[in-house]
Symmetry: C2
Subunit: 169 residues, 2 copies
DNA sequence: TTTTATGTTCTGAACATACAGAACATTTGA
DNA sequence: TCAAATGTTCTGTATGTTCAGAACATAAAA
């Protein structure tokens, strides 16, 4: 009806996306819902997702909430239908950048702040291995921070650059 | 005895490193052992770690095994001591690259293989949204694979490049 | 050999996470 | 109003993870 790929192949992709989520600390259901939205690229409502993925409505509901908080999924309304439909960011790279931005903000920035604070306190200590190592770590995190800043600011250029890489292996 | 930084600051760093591990799917004990080895930069034996971190010997033992499997910690023998000591990779960037290499191999490569296989099977299907999206995903993962290959091969240059970035915020 | 020092693996209890179903809330149409 | 449709949040159970202590293994010293 919406695509021409067999159900089995869609399942295969959804399954793989779920496994990938696991590696990255994303709940399996969340990742599978996301995978299905990605591969089918059309709006789904909750009950359809329940039926297709065979998971509970509450699970689908919370998974969608999570996905929206990562800015990779959004609500859409279909004319003449009062149900809420969900669809994912259509551009794969844009999706990736959204996720990276969020993760940096939630998981990296607080760590950098914490290390910086420890580093600051350590300035009163006499020099030594520990102080030196702490500085090294902070410097590495700072570099990461800077690189991320550059990448997120020049997103369009990065995507253009990436598209210039040879396509075929 | 080994450094001049206060115990409290070491604890602070170890704690932060543990939290950071959590974000990245690394067990808290594993990350804390690693954090302590990083910040003190000297060989520790199991019983010392038990005493310092107040966790069980079995926990320390398995944590060290895990860290060795990531190539970020290695055994060393001190002359006249039959205990096994453990120390971490001294270069922060080298450490990061080791971890990235391992994670790519364990968590990314199998996903890429799986998606590629699905993609291959989909070539017999008539064109459609799903097939197109699948191709997009594969292309993105391929690009990542290529970039990682380049980065790991030119590790030294990357490190040099990174060191050229302005140091202060 | 036996004992002691050192490390690893096994086991069960405590803790955390995932998730279905129930209960609740809200909106729309009768 | 009330009933039906749609979504969200709560609650208890099942499943998975973490980790201390016990049991086991190995090697050095006595």
């Amino acid at each position: 009806m919406w695509g021409h790929m067999s159900e089995t192949l869609v399942d295969q992709f959804v399954e793989t996306w779920g496994v990938m989520g696991n590696s990255w600390g994303v709940n399996n259901s969340v990742a599978r819902v996301h995978g299905l939205l990605i591969i089918t690229d059309r709006p789904w409502c909750i009950d359809e997702l329940v039926e297709r993925l065979q998971i509970s409505k509450s699970n689908v509901s919370t998974s969608l909430k999570e996905l929206r908080s990562w800015n990779v999924v959004r609500k859409v309304f279909l004319p003449g239908d009062r149900r809420e439909f969900y669809t994912c960011e259509p551009d794969a790279w844009e999706m990736l950048f959204n996720i990276m931005r969020q993760r940096k903000q939630r998981e990296f920035d607080p760590i950098l702040a914490s290390i910086s604070s420890t580093c600051e306190q350590a300035r009163q200590c006499p020099a030594g291995i520990a102080v030196e190592r702490l500085g090294q770590m902070k410097q590495m995190l700072d570099t990461f921070d800077k690189l991320a800043g550059i990448a997120f600011k020049s997103e369009t250029q990065i995507k253009a650059l990436v598209s210039l890489l040879p396509k075929k292996k």
